[in-house]
Symmetry: C2
Subunit: 244 residues, 2 copies
């Protein structure tokens, strides 16, 4: 809402609302971060062990209450930083979960955020509550409604990764086309034709050949590329037609 409230066809004044705001109509608000990574050709997610009695032993997303003087995005970045030390990663609001009984003790509405990290570049320094990376597809049960939040975030990721070059933030700054393809296959959970995959990415024309090749592979090394973000930003996103 934000100002006038109609209830049983009686218009409440702003004064009435003010007092409602002060008293009963308040909830605790949290942010939960779904932090995706990629390693050993598998999509991973960063979880901690819940220490709430009801969910003892269950895995949980990284979250915290939003402070009274803090924007939602700010809170998400703070939590990410507190948990991982990282600050310059892509971060996006996913959805807000507010079922009345989603938290056993209080009404806590939570805003889910989603981030993608390069696991190799960002070794975890804080390991409280058994913080570590889990294979996304191995997770069956979680604390609270966190499994639903994870599922929603994963679906969103699958959709976004097809529309935007997000995936590159999960890879080393120099990567081979095989690594890129492995990433897409893992996230989308499909097999792709190698030749057509390459054709597609080369035709998009955002990959820069670095003139280097992989090292320490026990076979023919692949060329290394980086993603040209500047070129991507300048490009006109193409019109994608109507299709259900």
């Amino acid at each position: 809402m934000d100002q006038s409230i109609v209830e049983n066809k009686k218009i409440k004044t702003f004064k009435t609302i003010q007092s409602e705001v002060e008293s009963i109509n308040r909830v605790a608000l949290s942010v939960d971060c779904v932090i995706f990574g990629f390693d050993e050709n598998k999509l991973k997610v960063l979880l901690i062990r819940s220490d709430l009695k009801k969910y003892l032993g269950k895995w949980s997303l990284l979250g915290d209450l939003v402070r009274p003087d803090e924007d939602l995005d700010e809170a998400a970045y703070r939590i990410l930083k507190q948990r991982t030390g990282l600050s310059d990663v892509f971060l996006e609001q996913v959805e807000t979960f507010g079922a009345v009984n989603r938290h056993p003790a209080n009404r806590v509405v939570t805003v889910a955020y989603c981030t993608l990290l390069n696991i190799q570049h960002h070794k975890l320094k804080i390991l409280d509550n058994e913080l570590h990376w889990h294979d996304v597809d191995s997770i069956t049960e979680m604390a609270f409604d966190h499994k639903a939040i994870l599922d929603t975030s994963y679906c969103r990721l699958q959709k976004r990764v097809k529309e935007h070059p997000l995936g590159f933030s999960l890879l080393p700054s120099k990567f081979s086309l095989r690594e890129l393809q492995n990433l897409y296959e893992a996230i989308l959970n499909i097999k792709l034709d190698r030749r057509n995959f390459r054709k597609k990415f080369f035709s998009m024309d955002f990959l820069v050949d670095l003139g280097e090749i992989e090292t320490e592979v026990p076979h023919r090394p692949g060329k290394l590329y980086k993603f040209d973000y500047a070129k991507y930003e300048k490009s006109q996103k193409k019109w994608t037609g109507i299709a259900f």
Copy 2:
């Protein structure tokens, strides 16, 4: 969050959090509904006049505080019903807006929801606060951050309407292809080729020819169709490739 909170590397217990939840860390939570309609070949949105002093005279979305015993979706449907009397319309969460100072009096975090209504089928019965339909593209200024919420919702609508058959809920149950095309042109703000538009929709094969034609048009009447939702639901959504 939801259980353990790390702050300055000090782990707080659940008890600590409990008391935080009880006291300072609470915010007022509202839902704002962005109700889109379609009339005279224009996309419309339903607004009321703000009666908050700071925004007196400005237009505002339809909102209310979320009740302590009410899920977010429930609140959105309640507000929609209270304002319009309607209940069986598509309703979707868009995004949560939580800038610290978005409300002048209190911290109010708002969850935006978006709905599409058929204006002809749903004549407004309640007109409090000058509730009425506005051309979406004529709106320049609004109360609070509601212009930003509207813009975000409109962008979301443009995207969703290309991926899902949402648009049909804005049309009469029997519609002509011209009406359908007008709808898409208005929402997407583009001109489409008539023959290709028809080809596209016929090839999707979800339109049912009702064997009826338009009446009271001063020219050759078009055939009337309905959308076959059952057939659509059964259809496998096609794989849409990677494209930035």
